[in-house]
């Protein structure tokens, strides 16, 4: 079952779709950010999965030449990406707080109706 053998990629795809759907379909600004986070997380998992090698061990230099290491580079990259993701979420949430102060709501449709009545 080669298809199931790649189960972590299936997880990536499912998470990606869940996140993307949430971003598009939800009116609540906080839920949208949650969706964005899930979406980004799925990409992190994609990177980490691709660095993994069957039977590979953590990339810490060991004695001997027949040791198989996992590829550390994607992991490092994803450390950066996680930082970026956290920063994005932080900026997004602070915007939501300011929006809540200004409009008294975090629901997109209510914000729209307030702006249109201006």
């Amino acid at each position: 079952m080669r298809l199931l053998g790649l189960y972590n990629y299936w997880v990536v795809i499912v998470l990606m779709m869940v996140g993307f759907y949430t971003i598009i379909a939800r009116d609540n600004l906080v839920k949208k950010l949650i969706g964005l986070s899930i979406f980004q997380t799925s990409v992190f998992m994609l990177y980490i999965s691709m660095g993994r090698i069957h039977g590979g061990t953590a990339p810490i230099l060991m004695e001997g030449t027949d040791v198989v290491y996992s590829n550390p580079l994607p992991h490092v990259l994803i450390l950066t990406a996680i930082v970026v993701g956290v920063a994005t979420t932080a900026v997004g949430l602070s915007l939501v707080i300011r929006i809540n102060e200004a409009y008294g709501t975090v629901e997109e449709d209510e914000i729209h109706s307030q702006d249109e009545s201006l």
Partner: protein, 491 residues
């Protein structure tokens, strides 16, 4: 020292940013920003001159050799983009001092300048780096600071538009990361030059086209190509004036540069256009953008939003040139990158002057400004003429190359659309001009002319609009060399 210029270009502003935050004094942090932006301009000029004289510069960060380490690789194309970004930054920073004091509350001004420098750093970083993951990191640095800058606008709608931009921008960036990841899976490298070598071996797989598609969508979101443009009009309209002037003339330009870099250098023009037929996607979208966005611009009642829609149409011109995938076409695209930065920078800065004195940039609020703020409106008229593409302005030079590129391939209907687009530009520019010059100013105290600290930077860009329109040998020559480098011909 001069060997380390590529990295100093990034590191100095990157260090200046926290410094500006630590200063905590509005004027003090502005001085830091000014220093950083002028430093960037000086380095960019030095780098461009060196690239023109000696050819491509390759710089290894921390001494790690490419493709393992991160390489900064500067050829004519990105040296030119660096010049655009840092040039606009160096003009907008002096302008920002007074403008920001009026539009942003005092406590936030140091943070404004911090975010401004970070945004500049990020944009410069995208242009300078030769590593695709590094592109993503710098992209997020510039985007996150841009969201914060836009949210500082006076109107509360600035917050929602910043939020909207954040969501769409992050989705775009994530798409780009996915694309980069897939490329890495197939090739095991992140270095652009290395990718270009290794990609052809695996181009026939299914993964590479998927990566290509993710990158296309992600980048087109960032450069706001129709129909992925929805974040842009609000963001430009409600951001503080100096932010709009800066972002409108740099952020989308850098995204266009990313498009060029990925599709010409990394994938190669042959793969992008012959195999993937990118032109079949970009050309129709560009044409629709030119016509529809210009039409929408005509009906806007807010001058900033009007210019925002005009920007979307102008992006269409750049993409149209690029989609022709010929030397002349890509030259036209790159040239318009530069020229449009000059005209939109100047125009948004005049609106900043209006905002400063009148407190509104709605079209009807500009009645009578031709009399009361003659220098500001004269700048607007010249910028507008440049946008229309009147001879002896930069807009004309862009149009000349674009039409020429279309005619070269016998695509004269494209040429007609390009020229019709400038007629639509006449209509939306003249809408503002007529109100300013034909309607009497409202009763009460007439607004005074904008202060010199706003007018001088504005006019600096206006003069640049004329200068590079009369003597375009430098810009056209550099753009053509950049196009040749990207297409890999003539060297």
């Amino acid at each position: 020292m001069s060997a380390h210029l590529p990295v100093l270009l990034i590191v100095v502003p990157l260090l200046a940013a926290p410094l500006a935050a630590l200063v905590r004094h509005p004027r003090g942090s502005w001085v830091v920003a000014l220093g950083a932006s002028w430093w960037a301009l000086g380095v960019s000029i030095a780098l461009l001159m060196r690239v023109l004289a000696d050819g491509t510069i390759s710089y290894e960060i921390g001494g790690w050799a490419a493709p393992w380490g991160i390489e900064y690789r500067i050829d004519v194309a990105n040296a030119f983009v660096l010049l655009i970004v840092s040039g606009i930054g160096a003009v907008v920073t002096p302008y920002a001092r007074v403008s920001v004091e009026r539009e942003v509350e005092a406590a936030r001004i140091p943070l404004f300048h911090t975010a401004f420098i970070l945004c500049l750093t990020g944009l410069l970083g995208i242009a300078v780096t030769g590593d695709v993951f590094n592109v993503f990191v710098f992209l997020e640095i510039s985007s996150l600071s841009a969201y914060a800058l836009i949210a500082l606008g006076q109107d509360r709608r600035a917050l929602t538009s910043a939020y909207q931009y954040l969501v769409m921008g992050s989705v775009g960036a994530t798409f780009i990361v996915i694309g980069i990841g897939l490329l890495y899976v197939m090739t095991g490298t992140l270095n652009m030059a290395d990718l270009a070598v290794r990609l052809p071996e695996v181009a026939a797989t299914r993964t590479i086209p998927v990566a290509f598609a993710f990158l296309t969508v992600g980048i087109c979101l960032k450069l706001a190509l129709f129909p992925l443009h929805l974040w842009l009009p609000n963001a430009y309209t409600f951001a503080p004036s100096s932010v709009t002037a800066f972002i409108a003339s740099t952020a989308t330009k850098v995204a266009v540069y990313m498009l060029l870099r990925f599709f010409f250098t990394v994938f190669g023009a042959a793969f992008s256009f012959d195999v993937m037929q990118l032109d079949m996607v970009l050309m129709p979208l560009a044409l629709v953008a030119i016509v529809s966005m210009s039409l929408v611009a005509i009906y806007q009642q807010n001058a900033k939003r009007l210019l925002a829609y005009s920007s979307l149409a102008q992006i269409g011109y750049m993409i149209l040139g690029i989609s022709l995938a010929s030397v002349t076409g890509v030259t036209a695209g790159i040239l318009h990158l530069f020229n449009h930065a000059l005209m939109k920078g100047a125009l948004f800065m005049t609106l900043g002057c209006v905002m400063y004195r009148v407190g509104s940039v709605r079209v009807e609020a500009m009645a009578g400004l031709g009399k009361t703020m003659p220098w500001t409106m004269a700048a607007f008229v010249i910028g507008g003429l440049s946008l229309i593409g009147v001879p002896l302005t930069v807009g004309f030079v862009s149009k000349w190359y674009l039409v020429l590129a279309a005619l070269e391939q016998g695509l004269w209907p494209l040429a007609v659309v390009v020229l019709l687009g400038s007629l639509l530009a006449v209509m939306y520019v003249w809408k503002v001009v007529e109100v300013a010059y034909f309607q009497p100013p409202p009763d009460g105290d007439p607004p005074a002319e904008a202060p010199l600290s706003l007018l001088v930077p504005t006019w600096a860009l206006v003069v640049a609009n004329l200068y590079f329109g009369i003597d375009a040998k430098l810009t056209a020559g550099v753009a053509m060399r950049a196009a040749e480098a990207l297409l890999g011909v003539g060297q």
